[in-house]
């Protein structure tokens, strides 16, 4: 079992939350009668969740501390923005997903950093 795994837990949670948000946003955009079907707002939520997913992958992969901090800041802004967008779109499950993503971010921040202490398998 890799010693990296616990340190990546936060990023994995974040990735899952982003993908969940993406699924919900896709549903909201494409399925009729969601109230936001085909709207620019729902499209923005899709793109934001996609971006968060990519950032989560980068966070899991990044080795440098400064880069990790930068990613965390971007992710935090992304989570807040997408949470707010979800709220305005009345897509409460997107808000919930962003909440979970925030927990992932916290986990990533409080766990021992794999960036600072590269593990040896």
């Amino acid at each position: 079992m890799s010693t990296l795994r616990p340190t990546r837990l936060g990023a994995i949670v974040l990735l899952i939350a982003s993908l969940a948000g993406l699924a919900i946003a896709l549903y909201a955009y494409f399925v009729p009668l969601t109230g936001v079907t085909g709207t620019l707002g729902a499209l923005v939520a899709i793109l934001a969740c996609l971006a968060l997913g990519v950032l989560a992958l980068l966070l899991a992969a990044v080795k440098q501390k400064k880069a990790a901090i930068l990613l965390r800041v971007l992710i935090l802004l992304g989570l807040l923005g997408t949470f707010f967008a979800g709220m305005l779109l009345h897509q409460w499950w997107i808000c919930a997903a962003m909440g979970v993503g925030f927990i992932g971010l916290i986990l990533d921040m409080v766990r021992p950093s794999h960036h600072a202490q590269p593990a040896h398998a």
Partner: protein
């Protein structure tokens, strides 16, 4: 007892000329407007000969149809406003305030008749009220098809395609407000067209089809098709579009029409036609303009539904403003029937009484909804009344037999011109109701919304400073950014009108709070201006007049309203006192899919229905939700998402012992760029 009480006659004061610079545009919403028309060979009752009206009683004697009970014993929803009295009231109470939260969608259909304007077809605007009659639900579509549906399942019984051209010949969109229904007093079994569905088209044809089969009624006009344009003989700039179904009164179809907004100084003059429901023969016409005014002006037509009291023998016309809309130099004489509620004798079309709500209308304040008839008890006296909602946000309440006011309606001085507009005259006074209170406070310039101002870096404040406003009825100008209107043509109450619960004597109305600004452009400047325009907004030429115009909603560059919320409300009035019982924001505004807080409300198009279950049903909001509210408290009790804003009146009906509520969700680009083709029907779980 005022007959033909065109209230006080205003003295007009001349104005001078002037003009100035131009500017750009933003977005928009606004109302709908004018229509005009003309009658051929008919002894129309022009205002001049109508003053000594036939008393209502004699009209009643002449009418042999059964009276309409104002507190109906049976549920009726067989016309645009549910009932001929336009109460939009159902005595059904299976669905009530206690259980409405359990409502579920029992069926929905999509007609397929929808366009968003991105392709070859103009956008659709669908405001049809489903009509329940003959154990069938009938709808008209913006592609001018009639569809008959099973009321319980939505299964199609038949459909009829008028094959009408799908061109925006007059209005900027393909519009339809549904169908009308007529049946013979004693239908002959096995004989067709004893029950008829009527629907008009934008190209001025009225179709009559058998309600059971959908087959054209050969005995009606020309094999089931009446060409209303045969009567378009004055300033025939456009066809007399029949977007609103006719008002069926006894064996008569009372037919108005719609035209092109703000386009011409001289336009088809407003004529209303009474047509035999069986044969399509013209029986009488009503003209709102004098012969002279018909030539040099136009419109003052009836483009929305009418209401009628068959017992009194009266039909009530909401009459629009004369053309052009924002300049009146070609109609400096009095036009007493313009922008009025006018009561006609159903038998003859003669004017029994008329009340003008805007003198010398230069704001496009068309009277745009059928007055709602009601019996109310005021100070212990039972009064046969009607309430006329208006774009201005005023509610006028008068005795429907005589036109006399129930609560005082005062002629108050209003702002004159600034001397910049050539040839214009101004009414020194306008009618102001003392009760009910105006639905919005137009007495002062509305405050700039700090949030919209801040995020636009002061754009709203700057706009406000450039807009003239000296109170309600501040006239249009060429100066600065023009004149602010709160509202102008988009605000107040639209064609959904007022609903009324006759048991509690409560009136319910939805309203919009919208600030617009209008500016006149001298012809030369207008020709060089950027004249992009949208649906009922932007630039319009008023061709023939010395001024073109531009009308816009006061939005910042982000599309946010520059004035403070709420942007729309639902209001309940105690009609025994004229006081407001409650008011609350209605729905939510929505931009790009993002909902704004519900406390801000939404502009509204469409109207309410009320039931004996103490429930109000309404769509009308930007967020495309349909809702139920408590009639007692205004509390929201239920909602569901629909495909597009339900810019129509709901229908409430009972079929095989089950109560249903039907909404048409078609959207209106005036409100939001979202269109739909959905009919959704709700009921309690079985």
């Amino acid at each position: 007892m005022p007959t033909f009480s065109v209230t006080k006659r205003p003295h007009f004061t001349p104005a001078t000329l002037g003009w100035r610079t131009a500017t750009a545009l933003v977005l928009c919403l606004s109302p709908m407007p004018l229509l005009a028309q003309d009658s051929p060979d008919e002894p129309a009752n022009s205002p001049e000969n109508s003053s000594e009206n036939s008393p209502a009683n004699s009209a009643a004697e002449a009418t042999n149809t059964a009276p309409i009970p104002l507190v109906p014993g049976e549920p009726i929803w067989d016309s645009f406003h549910g009932q001929l009295n336009a109460q939009k009231y159902s005595p059904l109470d299976q669905i009530n305030a206690d259980n409405v939260g359990e409502l579920e969608k029992v069926w929905e259909i999509h007609t397929g008749d929808v366009a968003d304007g991105s392709g070859d077809l103009p956008a659709t605007v669908w405001s049809a009220t489903p009509v329940f009659a003959n154990d069938t639900l009938y709808i008209g579509t913006p592609f001018y098809r009639i569809i008959a549906l099973d009321p319980a399942s939505g299964e199609e019984k038949w459909s009829f395609d008028t094959q009408s051209s799908l061109e925006a010949l007059t209005q900027p969109a393909l519009k339809n407000r549904g169908v009308a229904y007529w049946e013979a007093d004693d239908p002959v079994a096995g004989e067709s067209c004893q029950k008829i569905i009527y629907m008009g088209t934008m190209d001025a044809r009225l179709f009559a089809v058998d309600a059971d089969s959908g087959e054209p009624c050969q005995g009606f006009a020309d094999n089931g098709v009446l060409n209303a344009n045969q009567w378009n003989d004055t300033n025939d700039k456009w066809p007399l579009s029949l977007l609103q179904p006719p008002t069926v009164v006894g064996d008569r179809l009372i037919l108005g029409w719609a035209g092109m907004d703000w386009a011409y100084e001289e336009a088809p003059p407003g004529t209303v036609f009474s047509i035999n429901a069986r044969t399509g023969e013209l029986e009488w016409t009503f003209q709102a303009l004098s012969d002279q005014m018909r030539e040099q002006s136009g419109t003052a037509n009836v483009w929305t539904h009418m209401s009628a009291d068959e017992e009194l023998g009266l039909v009530y016309l909401p009459v629009s403003s004369p053309s052009p809309n924002y300049w009146g130099g070609n109609r400096t004489e009095e036009v007493p029937l313009g922008t009025s509620t006018t009561a006609l004798d159903i038998e003859t079309g003669e004017v029994v009484w008329s009340r003008q709500w805007v003198h010398h209308d230069i704001w496009d304040y068309d009277i745009n909804s059928a007055p709602t008839l009601m019996d109310i008890t005021v100070d212990g006296e039972e009064i046969p009344a009607l309430i006329q909602a208006t774009k201005m946000g005023f509610l006028f309440v008068v005795n429907r037999e005589t036109g006399e006011e129930v609560w005082p309606i005062e002629e108050r001085p209003v702002p004159g011109g600034d001397g910049a507009v050539e040839g214009e005259v101004y009414a020194p006074t306008q009618p102001f109701p003392t009760k009910p209170a105006p639905l919005m406070d137009q007495s002062e310039k509305p405050k700039v919304w700090a949030l919209a101002d801040a995020v636009s870096f002061g754009q709203c404040s700057a706009l406000w400073e450039d807009l003239r406003y000296e109170g309600m009825y501040t006239p249009p100008t060429t100066e600065g950014e023009g004149t602010l209107g709160f509202p102008i043509s988009a605000g107040g109450v639209q064609w959904g009108g007022v609903a009324f619960d006759p048991e509690s004597q409560t009136a319910v109305v939805n309203t919009s709070h919208i600030v617009q600004h209008v500016r006149l452009y001298g012809r030369e400047l207008y020709e060089s201006a950027n004249r992009a325009s949208g649906n009922e907004s932007g630039f319009a030429s008023q061709e023939g007049a010395p001024y073109g115009m531009r009308l816009e909603v006061a939005l910042n560059r982000l599309g946010m309203p520059c004035w403070e919320p709420p942007f729309g409300e639902l209001v309940a009035l105690d009609m025994t006192t004229g006081d407001i019982k409650w008011r609350r924001p209605l729905g939510a505004s929505q931009q790009y899919g993002f909902y704004m807080p519900e406390s801000w409300g939404s502009p509204t198009i469409g109207g309410p229905a009320v039931t004996a279950g103490n429930v109000i049903f309404i769509g009308a909001s930007m967020d495309a939700k349909v809702r139920a509210y408590s009639l007692e408290s205004g509390e929201e009790l239920w909602s569901d998402q629909s495909e597009a804003p339900s810019v129509s009146n709901p229908a409430v009906y009972e079929y095989e012992g089950r109560q249903y509520v039907a909404f048409v969700s078609g959207g209106n680009t005036i409100l939001k760029n979202q269109v739909g083709d959905q009919v959704a029907v709700y009921a309690l779980p079985e």
